[in-house]
Amino acid sequence: MAAQRKRLNTATLVLLPFWAVVLAAYVGTMLWTVQISFTASKLLPVDEYVGFAQYERLFGSTRWSVSMQNAVIFGVLFIGGALVLGFLLAVVLDQRVRFENTLRTVFLYPYAMSFIVTGLIWQWLMNPGLGIQKAVRDWGFTSFDFAWAVDRDMAIYALVLAGLWQASGLVMALMLAGLRGVDEEIWKASRIDGIPAWRVYLFVIVPMLRPLIVTAVVLLAISVVKAFDLVVALTNGGPGISSDMPAKFVMDNLFTRQNIGLATAAATVMLITVAAVLVPWIYTEYFRKARVGGTA
């Protein structure tokens, strides 16, 4: 018993530096952000409190509402698309394809590359004068339109496409691992019952893969939050403000417009939005799993 207590103390002790770092770095900086957002700070933070004035300005700004809309469009299409594409790729790869390991690595390569490189490559592929559009038009399909990155209405979808290219392989790798774990008996039983394969996938396999799907959504959500890099490299928020994202809004107000108060207000809204949507969801997912006794 005494030994047990000593162990526990050692464990707590080892965790102390870690806790100190985490609390100071994460919680401390977030609270600081919130504090600045209630001040009239311009170039440097000041202590002149103005209540919710910065938030009123923020929600009155067209650019901010466009950014938020784009974030939602990107998030929904990117996560949904990557899940569907990744799952389909995994189903194909699960049919005992030759050189599967090599192929799996090829599918994963884009994810190992930074969003910056991804953005640049796609900026080029979607360049109206040089890229895919030009090549396909020269082959005779003159109405082919792929210059999405410079098209006001399509720029946000250009971001989605590049994101899908980057992340689908990741979902594929996760789902493939799940499909490998599916019991052969399920396929035998469904064959005997004459159930078509697509129905088995949709109604039996997908529910079984739920924990992996949760993991995939978490990883994709992290990418959505990080999408700043992709925006900067691919469209830089343009044309105009058509593909602006909240992170870019914050950066511009911080660095080029010297408007720290507004930038922190926007950052605070982002923090609260993400926390409000994701945290309860993750917790229920994991607690549900803990109750049924599954593992990741």
Binding site: V21, V22, Q95, R96, Y111, A112, I116, K134, A177, A263
Partner: protein, 276 residues
């Protein structure tokens, strides 16, 4: 196990899968090919695939004109530095969580991982102000600390999933035989933990290597790594596509090559340990 399929169907799906693989790989391949073209050939219409005069000119230009190795050195320095610093904190933490779990260990892990999903801009301003105050802007030390902080949750999580697989009985046996805590760690735990630590390191190096948000915002030239270098090519009017391709290749080549030789670790790392 996968379901049984006929040979004909297998050939069909193999061809299809490889076709999709080629489509996905095409942008990387195209960048690779373009990096060996002249600027004129790079924008020639119709595009040429392999029938051009291969040249190393772009790589030479990049090395001489843009001080490529300075950025490269920074990338190596930052990714290895932040990983080393991270391990110092993460190994004891993950060890404690895996072998002396308390009631709240799982919650703590989840809470930590959830910070990863919060937008980085939420803490950028305070960190930027701190950097200004302490003169850390554009310093490698400052960036190492930031990269260490943002990747710490992932390091702990990854190491935790690996440490969980080490049977606790072995540690107990060592304890029974009178091994001290330091002996327990260095002689019993470490040898079993090395593979896990290796792929955690691989993941963390890749993440730090690719990190653009913080490196773009907190550096200008002195401490700027490859991501900043590549981003500097991204002006819309920039027509130096061959050079840009060469620069991109130089930036991703280490990852592609290391990834190829450690495919298993890469898959496990990138999926946060979910794929064994």
């Amino acid at each position: 196990m996968a379901r049984k399929v006929t040979t004909g169907r297998k050939i069909g799906t193999t061809i299809f899968a490889w076709f999709v693989g080629l489509v996905i790989f095409f942008p990387i391949l195209w960048t690779f090919l373009t990096s060996f073209k002249t600027e004129l050939q790079a924008i020639s219409i119709p595009p040429v695939f392999v029938g051009f005069d291969w040249t190393l000119e772009n790589y030479r230009t990049i090395q001489t004109q843009s001080n490529y190795f300075h950025f490269m050195a920074n990338s190596i320095y930052l990714s290895l530095g932040s990983t080393a610093l991270g391990l110092i904190f993460a190994i004891p933490a993950a060890w404690a969580m895996a072998f002396s779990p308390t009631r709240r260990t799982k919650d703590v892990l989840l809470w930590m991982l959830s910070t990863k999903m919060l937008p980085a801009v939420g803490v950028l301003i305070p960190i930027y102000l701190l950097f200004v105050r302490f003169g850390l802007l554009d310093s490698r030390l400052g960036l190492i600390v930031v990269l260490f902080l943002i990747n710490l949750p992932i390091l702990v999580w990854m190491l935790y999933t690996y440490f969980k697989e080490i049977p606790g009985e072995i540690l107990e046996a060592a304890r029974m035989d009178g091994a001290s805590l330091s002996k327990e760690i260095t002689q019993v735990l470490a040898p079993m933990a090395v593979p896990g630590i290796a792929s955690t390191v691989l993941l963390n190096v890749i993440l730090s290597w690719n990190e653009a948000f913080w490196t773009l915002n907190l550096t200008t030239s002195n401490a700027a790594p490859l991501t900043a270098f590549i981003a500097s090519f991204s002006s819309p009017q920039g027509n130096f596509y061959a050079k840009l391709s060469a620069a991109s290749m130089l930036a991703i080549a280490p990852i592609l090559i290391v990834g190829w030789f450690s495919q298993k670790q890469l898959v496990r790392g990138l999926t946060f340990g979910a794929v064994k």
